[in-house]
Symmetry: C2
Subunit: 373 residues, 2 copies
């Protein structure tokens, strides 16, 4: 079956140059950095070069980057590692966070009732209000979690404004930045987050790769234990090919995002324009006036999104899934005030670096056909 892939916010294919960078580390340079051989030292050097590429992409120092097995582990380590060194208290988390942020926060409160969780509301425009966050801070607030950009709506959150308000009260901010890399330039130092999560497979890096940014001097506890690796924060044999791949993807992302061309936004806007041209009852663009990721659009269609799935088996997009508890898709749309029937009519389209204008036109035709027949 052919595949018209417009679901890049969920996962991306590995970039060919990333695969190429990884290949020698499977069967040729297969030693681990800690082994007693010169080959191992060479591997260690390659790993540190990869760490530097990630730091360059993220705008931080390489010693502030800890490799993980992905974005979920990065969020868990940043959150559970931060609370591990703190007295139980108050936690603030935005309601449109990914499960890997909400999960550890809620898991913690379930295990120890001394942790109290409050949820930061999202405005209909798709962003949280920094002054609301500030008003919710308490003297015992230990951590605030606010994502960089929402995966469903694409809305970019005011992380820096939230961070400044948190820091004024001596509170740490964790930022799940996984949806930003490879789409917009990210400068973690400007965002002023204390910790941030990075996921390789969201920007053409390998699945099973990720990293957490930890601001210099910040203390975290590890969440798993073993041979001390990664500054004592992440034990276990290094997944060398994944680390090298993450580094290669970071170099690509840095180059792609620093170019002035607005390729991704152009493709997204072309899709919207074509739908307006083709459909008698065109879709509503959610959070249209809010600053959003250039590759992402949430569209409310004139009928149930399942109609699209039935009529076009070619197109890969995201829509609401029936799951309990509700997933990020449903939660994000509920948070901005959409009704259940509106949520059922909504799709999220996310384009990628290799999406073509022809693919966008074809997608628009498939969508228009599904709703106009």
């Amino acid at each position: 079956m052919s595949l018209l892939y417009l679901d890049y916010n969920r996962t991306t294919p590995l970039a060919p140059s990333v695969l190429e960078a990884m290949q020698p580390y499977w069967s040729t340079h297969y030693l681990l950095p800690g082994q007693q051989h010169a080959h191992a030292h060479a591997v260690s050097e390659a790993l540190e070069n990869a760490r530097e590429s990630i730091a360059a992409m993220a705008g931080c120092e390489s010693f502030e980057i800890v490799f993980t097995s992905g974005g979920t582990e990065a969020n868990n380590l940043a959150i559970l590692g931060a609370v591990g060194v703190a007295e139980p208290g108050h936690l603030l988390v935005s309601e449109i966070e990914h499960e890997s942020v909400l999960g550890p926060i809620k898991g913690l409160a379930q295990r120890d009732p001394r942790w109290q969780v409050e949820v930061i509301p999202c405005r209909p425009c798709g962003t949280i209000d920094p002054s609301v966050v500030e008003s919710m801070l308490r003297s015992d607030t230990r951590l605030v979690c606010v994502q960089g950009a929402n995966a469903v709506l694409g809305t970019i959150q005011p992380v820096r404004e939230v961070a400044d308000r948190c820091h004024n009260h001596g509170v740490r901010l964790h930022c799940d930045a996984t949806q930003m890399f490879g789409k917009v330039p990210v400068d973690i130092k400007s965002l002023r987050a204390d910790t941030a999560a990075i996921s390789g497979h969201k920007f053409y890096g390998p699945k099973g790769s990720g990293a957490v940014y930890i601001r210099r001097g910040l203390k975290l506890d590890p969440i798993t234990f073993g041979e001390p690796r990664e500054m004592g924060l992440r034990p276990g044999a290094e997944n060398v090919p994944a680390c090298i791949g993450l580094g290669a993807a970071a170099s690509l992302a840095e180059r792609f995002c620093s170019s002035p061309s607005d390729q991704l936004a152009g493709l997204r806007d072309q899709l919207i324009q074509r739908l307006y041209e083709l459909m008698g009852d065109p879709p509503i663009v959610l959070c249209e006036t809010t600053e959003r990721l250039p590759n992402t659009v949430a569209l409310e269609l004139p009928g149930d999104a399942r109609r699209l799935a039935e009529s076009s088996r070619e197109l890969a997009i995201a829509s609401a899934q029936t799951s309990s508890p509700p997933d990020e898709f449903t939660r994000s749309l509920r948070a901005i005030g959409r009704s259940e029937s509106e949520i059922g009519r909504t799709i999220r389209v996310s384009v990628g670096w290799t999406t073509s204008r022809e693919q966008v036109d074809r997608a628009a035709e498939l969508i228009a056909t599904a709703y106009d027949c």
Copy 2:
């Protein structure tokens, strides 16, 4: 620099057929199992086939296998997940376990003093005594951890006898089986462990791959949180290529270990014999009369092991590292009563499937030259 690799217990190169099995999942079948497209269903099927291959190698059901990012995470999940569902109490761990077993046990006790840890001693023959384990069990013992085989000495532990004694007292047994796969046939059901750890890169699978066996019906808590995956025990986007690679490596290991030939033991014994022929003062084979992994030998040489490192930059073997706390190498040798000077003279040689007789001869020559000149 050329590499005469005899350190297969530390890590192995990826087998070419494993790499081949993984390749399509990077850039062609890159969807995640949960995505809304037929391509994703195909990926999901491939993942379940890989799980079945692992179950076939390990002698269990596929629904008893949970994918992890490696052996360290597998040990952590089995241990911390088991204690998560238990009242604080008593824990028993053998003194020759890997850091990823000792680490979570000790980490737990440090965080919550209601957990009491006792260490099971190792006999000079390199194995623990099941009756000693039984004598150490208490009414509040929650978990016993005993490895399948020691990485340094190669000694195979009496897991089944320990498991039976634990079960008679209603106590769970976790087995770090990471050193067994690909070297000896493993039948987890016969070992009777309740949980067991598997690490892909120890048997020609990818780094960053692993699994934990969880006996049917056993309850564990997850240790990280996010989108529910792997029966709710391991969240995060599936590392599909790693899972496929682990499955392919399991198929190879099952085939290799079921063949009657004693290829690994033949190479190991050839090395010992050559050293006896070449050296005026031949090495002592540690735990020589104990049942051991066929690929592993710990050799006590007539002089400091650093002499070997200096004289032969070609050979990759394992020897004592100065680290605090002491690593598995030093701990295992101390446990069987070796002195610090004896430990400093000891190397661990571990051969692999592709080690040749010529390589073994060359290694023997290099060792003999280093100590006879």
